[in-house]
């Protein structure tokens, strides 16, 4: 808790400064709403926000879990075969470099409107860091460490579970942290074209010039990101305590 105080204090200070600047009309309220106005909007449209948050949250979670499962799986397979890695890794890089907003219309054609497109969009954006980090981690064991396992005639499973996986763990964790943020970005991009969730709410607010709704949605998205970071932090502390390796 001690570690979160500086962030909470700076956030509160920022809110106060913005409230003051908007009330003194330094910023136009039609461009940047006062924090109190954002909170009021959230209260007024609470049902819409709760519904949209739930939708986006479940889509992000599905995309992220899919990235974790498929990303780590693919990285494990790549780590076993250099040929496979060289043959398939460029496709993963392609997904990383092509802007999701350019692929999203295609996803609507393939998966239709709604959750499947949003999940696919979230997955495509967030899978690459999981693959890249897991792969880097699995290959991070030093030659001397590998020698040690060779010396005692360790089998492939022992090398994987007692050496490669523990070496890869910090890399996987950091890949998941990056992909958690990206899965939200991907889901929102998906919702812009496929509808539903906070993405659609932002898009409709844009057409009405309702910056207060946009800011309220952004606040909720930030909270969602923080939730995922906290969840990872909790999982990490459990793993550190249990030490399964």
């Amino acid at each position: 808790m001690k570690r979160t105080w500086p962030a909470l204090i700076s956030f509160a200070a920022l809110l106060i400064v913005f409230e003051f600047l908007v009330r003194k009309e330094v910023f136009s309220a039609s461009l940047i709403p006062a924090p109190s106005m954002v909170l009021m909007t959230m209260q007024e449209l609470s049902d819409d926000f709760v519904q949209a948050f739930k939708e986006t949250f479940s889509n992000v979670l599905a995309g992220w879990v899919l990235s974790l499962a498929l990303g780590t799986g693919v990285a494990f397979v790549f780590s076993l075969s250099d040929l496979l890695k060289r043959a398939i890794l460029p496709f993963a890089v392609f997904f990383q470099t092509v802007p999701i907003i350019a692929i999203a219309p295609l996803l609507v054609i393939y998966f239709g409107f709604g959750a499947p497109t949003v999940i696919a969009s979230s997955f495509i954006v967030s899978v690459f860091p999981v693959i890249a980090n897991t792969l880097m981690g699995l290959e991070s064991a030093s030659e001397q460490q590998k020698d040690l396992f060779r010396l005692y005639q360790a089998n492939s499973l022992q090398i994987l579970t007692k050496l490669k996986l523990p070496c890869a763990y910090p890399y996987i964790l950091s890949g998941l942290k990056i992909s958690a943020g990206l899965s939200i970005v991907g889901a929102i991009a998906g919702e812009f074209v496929a509808g539903g969730g906070l993405g659609a709410l932002i898009d409709s607010a844009r057409t009405q010039q309702r910056v207060d709704i946009v800011f309220a949605a952004l606040l909720l998205l930030s909270l969602m990101g923080l939730f995922f970071m906290a969840l990872l932090s909790l999982i990490n502390s459990i793993i550190q305590k249990q030490r399964p390796f």
Binding site: Q144, Q145, L148, L151, Y152, Q153
Partner: protein
């Protein structure tokens, strides 16, 4: 110098990395129970030779024959401690008992007993639950030594194990190695850059030099079998070191 009962035999051993022949037609015999040091300039093939004996490298040609009493009883101490940072001292020491197919068959109680024994041998029994990052360089090296001893080896290969330690710790570790070697009746092949260390520890010195790991000196040392601190500053030891140093330079 001829050995009466050569037990470890290396015959016409060669090892190449790409086009470079590191070891060429190398032959050597080492008596079981002896302490042999391999010395020579960097890149002369000392470590490669040790790794070939340990089976960590594939030989290009030749034969390495170990007597039946030493087969499956080889341990290796690396240049740095090479501990797994996510494991405690005891878990690092116990690693060979988990990995080696034969040792893995031991009961849980026997494994714990062996780990404690090995830690006691290197005087680290009170640090069993510490992680490597909580240990000093010398302690890490002792854990590494305990890990090598937990398998109850008869043949110990050490690749410049004390190179990164400060002088006091190095002296302490050298004495500990000598006492362990005596107690466990180990056959030891020790690779080092330090002539002083080689002469103080060994009964026999083999100097490698030039392309293909050519043996330029191979001799038993005329020093008392019991090594004491006073030997470190003795004239006799220093004369041997001077002689070896000249051979190394020539």
């Amino acid at each position: 110098m001829t050995e009466l009962a050569p037990d470890i035999r290396i015959q016409d051993l060669s090892k190449s990395f790409k086009d470079r022949e590191i070891i060429k037609d190398f032959s050597l015999s080492v008596k079981e129970g002896s302490f042999v040091s391999l010395i020579g300039p960097s890149g002369c093939g000392k470590s490669t030779l040790l790794r070939l004996i340990a089976g960590l490298e594939e030989k290009s040609a030749g034969e390495i024959t170990l007597p039946s009493s030493l087969k499956n009883s080889v341990s290796f101490v690396f240049q740095d401690a090479n501990l797994l940072p996510w494991r405690t001292t005891a878990e690092n020491v116990g690693l060979p008992l988990e990995l080696n197919p034969e040792l893995a068959k031991l009961s849980h109680e026997e494994k714990n007993k062996r780990v404690l024994e090995a830690l006691t041998k290197v005087q680290l029994e009170n640090f069993a639950n510490h992680f490597p990052q909580e240990l000093s360089g010398g302690m890490k090296m002792r854990v590494s030594l305990a890990r090598a001893l937990v398998a109850k080896p008869k043949f110990l290969l050490l690749d410049e194990p004390f190179a990164a330690l400060d002088e006091n710790t190095r002296f302490e570790m050298q004495n500990q190695l000598l006492s362990l070697r005596k107690k466990e009746k180990l056959t030891v092949i020790f690779v080092t850059h330090s002539l002083f260390e080689a002469v103080y520890l060994s009964e026999r010195i083999i100097m490698l030099k030039g392309a293909g790991a050519k043996i330029v000196f191979d001799g038993n040392l005329d020093l008392p079998s019991e090594r004491t601190e006073s030997l470190r500053t003795s004239e006799k030891l220093n004369t041997i070191i001077r002689d070896l140093s000249q051979r190394l330079k020539s």
